[in-house]
Amino acid sequence: MSITSPIQCDVVLALVPTFVDDEVTDSVASTVRRHLMDCSACRNAVQEEQTLRQWFVAAPEVEVPTGFAAHVARRAFAGDVGLEPAPAPVAAAPEPPAGRVLAFSRALVAVAAGGLVAISLFLAGSGGPEVADLDAGKGLQEALLELEQENQRLELEDSASTPEEGR
């Protein structure tokens, strides 16, 4: 940038889009032009801005259907007001807390049920545990044996003390 430039590059750079769009006042435009004569960096910025505008080319003329205006005027005077505005998108309503608790409970029950089914299948597949295989089962078996022996002893005592019927 030249020392004699009356405005700084940052000011010019900020003005570049409006300058290229021809939306600055005549006095600003002439100040910018004077600056551009001395400053290649700002000239490049203007060129770049103009380059981008080359992508916006005029599209071909549009064909308007014959009789369009008369057709629209007829519809308008017949009371047609066009389409209603699109309804605003409805946000998904948040699930009430009770619903969420219920959903959680259902999920929990489902998981528990699944677990029980899996255990049952496993036990069925392995034939199930024998009572003798379990420590607690051993104690029970001994208790049953004792109970059976006790019953036999009592029966013997009972038969010894009771007189024979028919005697």
């Binding site: 599209a59 549009v62 205006a69 008369a70 519809r75 047609d80 505005p85």
Partner: protein, 215 residues
């Protein structure tokens, strides 16, 4: 407007008289208004949809809405600006209805802006000289289709419809400063997307000091 007039004499009337005639129940006045602006509205709407049927529907809907609200039109403002505002709203409404609005709910385009990284900013991108106008137009359109609506609208108005900042501000009911800011961001976003989709047209800008030393 008094007694009903013939169409040829109506064609030379200004907008405010035709609006008045329409309000007084003369269908020809409205027909002339439609004829006066139909081409510009067709031109505007086709930047938003490729379907000729949809373009016709949207333009028709715009005129019908304008007719039904004609009593609210303030004669102090330009009829076309007022009509254009209805057209833009009708387009956006139509796209919303079709679920085609490029506005992403999670994205606030104004806040996000069009900031570019330094590499993108330093890259120049120009259409290849061998490209036909129709090809350039197609590339531009595909890039604009990807832009948030807020940016696409200002680009259409400024770059394709050649509207002045003040007219854009009037249509969008924002300040000129907002128009400038949106345009700046819109162009930055356009360039960024263009570089993403068509890197083959990119050229890194040479350093100005290098250029000077060469010459």
């Amino acid at each position: 407007m008094g007694a009903l007039m013939h169409k040829p004499s109506l064609e030379s009337q200004d907008d405010s008289l035709l609006v008045q005639g329409t309000l007084e129940g003369d269908p020809l006045c409205f027909e002339v208004l439609v004829e006066r602006y139909q081409r510009r509205l067709f031109g505007l709407v086709r930047h938003y949809t490729r379907s000729a049927v949809e373009v016709e529907d949207i333009v028709q809907d715009t005129f019908l809405k304008a007719f039904s609200r004609l009593e609210t039109f303030q004669q102090s403002s330009a009829f076309y600006t007022w009509l254009y505002r209805i057209a833009v709203n009708t387009i956006l409404d139509f796209m919303k209805r079709q679920g085609r609005s490029p506005i992403r709910a999670v994205e606030d385009p104004e806040a996000m802006g069009g900031s570019m990284d330094e590499t993108t900013e330093r890259k120049s991108i120009r259409p290849d000289a061998r490209l036909e106008q129709a090809e350039i137009s197609e590339i531009t359109r595909s890039v604009m289709d990807d832009l948030p609506e807020i940016f696409r609208t200002v680009l259409v108005m400024r770059e394709l419809e050649q509207m002045r900042y003040q007219d854009i501000a009037d249509v969008l009911q924002v300040s000129i400063g907002t128009v400038e800011s949106r345009l700046f961001r819109a162009r930055a976003r356009f360039k960024k997307r263009l570089l993403q989709l068509h890197p083959e047209f990119a050229a890194t800008q040479s350093n100005p000091s290098d250029e000077e030393s060469k010459s």
